[in-house]
Amino acid sequence: MNYIVCAEDISKSYGSILAVDKVSFTVREGEFFSLLGPSGCGKTTILRILGGFIEQDGGTVSIDGKDMKGIPPNRRDTAMVFQNLALFPHMDVRENIVYGLRKRKFPADRIREELNSILEIVDLKGFETRRISELSGGQQQRVALARSLIVKPKILLLDEPLASLDKKLRVSMQGELKEIQKRIGTTFLYVTHDQGEALTMSDNIAVMNKGVIIQMGTPDSIYNCPWNIFTADFIGAGNFIPVISVEKENHMFVLKTEDRGRIFLRDDFKKDCRDFPGVKKIQGPESSGVKDKTALPVFFIRPEKIKITTKPQRNKNLFNGKVKAIIFEGPDIRLEVVSNTLGKIKIEVKNDGSLPGLKENDNLLFHWDYIDGILLEY
């Protein structure tokens, strides 16, 4: 497999703001790669460096094996779909789309051919002579996509292209984008702050925070094996239970919580996580009088891993709690439960009729397997 993009230690600061701090990543040819992170973490900056709109202060970017230093955007094999789309308001749909081919001096009949095939792909037949202002958000979106795809870039850079659409359209465009990407096989480098979007569309995700890549991997490894509290918190929902001591008994960690709860966790909990860096502080201070909380790990478990039960279960982590809120979400039901030993716990169950007529302030039993959950550091 070839790496089509190699970014090595790239940094960029704006005055005193370090927007990107020694970021390295690689993207394979044909891959859907996402940069995911909260607002202001440097995603756009990285994309603009790759596109050639700004130059990095340090580090190297190579595309298809060639160092990109000093090469302007018009001589790079990249095309960008801008955060605000940047469609040319004084041109109609067709002129927008064929703009890149015109600049490449394609003959008229080639242009017509390419235009027809791209209109087919983005499903915009019949809109050629519309003005940009006469299109819906989703259609504008597709024009922007077509305009960039028609020049057959090696890498398509997309900067939160769906951010301005409403939820329903966004979800359908996510599907379409992924579909198009599969069909034409172009490498997509996708920037988003929407974790759901990144999880559904990407082959690989780089999670960013404050100008640094925190974790990289496939959507399922990022979701199931977050390396740290930031990733776990940013992707999906979860329960973070502070631990005050960790002991090892046979093949089991015994974790004590502040309120004298005991959680068992199999010591091979990370066996499905590739490249898991491990928890350095796992043998933290064993006395309960620790002041510095950050010196200790945190037990993390996803709400959907927790099950509700009516009768006690053997060989599981079993707790009781009181229902504080029941939130109906259609396919799922979310429960907020307070446990004496664990604190607040979020539980998510399928809306399959198995919930035994729970009301607020009811007591309930819940449990999870010894293998579920993960130990995280700050």
Binding site: G51, N74, T78, F82, N84, A86, F88, T129, V151
Partner: protein, 287 residues
Amino acid sequence: MSVIKSKNKNLIYPGLLWLFIFFLLPLSVILIYAVTAHDLVPGESLKFTFSNFAVIFQKKHYLIILLRSLKISFLTTIFSIIFSYPVAYFLAKRTKFDKVLIVVLMIPFWINYLIRTFAWKLILSENGVLNQLLLWLKVIDEPVRVLYSQTSVLLGLIYMYTPMMVLPLYASLLRIDNSLVEASQDLGASRIRAFFDITFKLSLTGIFAGTLLVFIPALGSFAIPAILGGTDSVMIGNIIENQFSRVGNWNFGSAFTVALAVLSIALVLFYSKIFGLESIYKNKGNT
């Protein structure tokens, strides 16, 4: 809003009165003078005639002046675009201090324009600043005559009206999103190509508005050609002024005024049709 509207309706009357006395009334007087043969005297009946207009088109002299006025205004507009574009571009795209700089740019306008025009006389006269400078730089051996020519009128008009071009141009450039230019480069355009494809084309709205603000007043100007011009640079405005204040033929002066107004309006309409917003944000038919 509605409170103001309903309770203070009477406030509109002074405004209407003002408009009537200072705009509609003189305008009607001019219109009446233009189509009659004599002065307005109470009690006497009006004799309608188009002879005032006929004179304009019969005398070759007037046609020459008309064409000259069009030429001078046209050149003024062209040069004002050339001079104001870099300024407007710098203000809109290259500096953070644009708001302050625009105020600075406008400072000369706090001074009466006649005074500024006389200042140009000092600059352009035979032993004026310009000639002194050129002599000192040894570009010329003896003073050149710039003053009282079409050149000096043109210089004066360009100086006076270029700011009228800078402002709308600046506004239109400010509205152009940088990402449009970047998108153009991204799709294969060089920096220069991207400038002409995107920035320049989208700034045509500003040039369009600026042209109206420069060309029309320049066409009707009379003080600048009167002060800086000579016999070869008389413009329509001077003829009109002459008819009213020296010759005393108000009928003919009014006819000329009306003709100028009609010409201006016609030019604006024609110009809007060709270069208007529609043509910039065009919606071309199928091809």
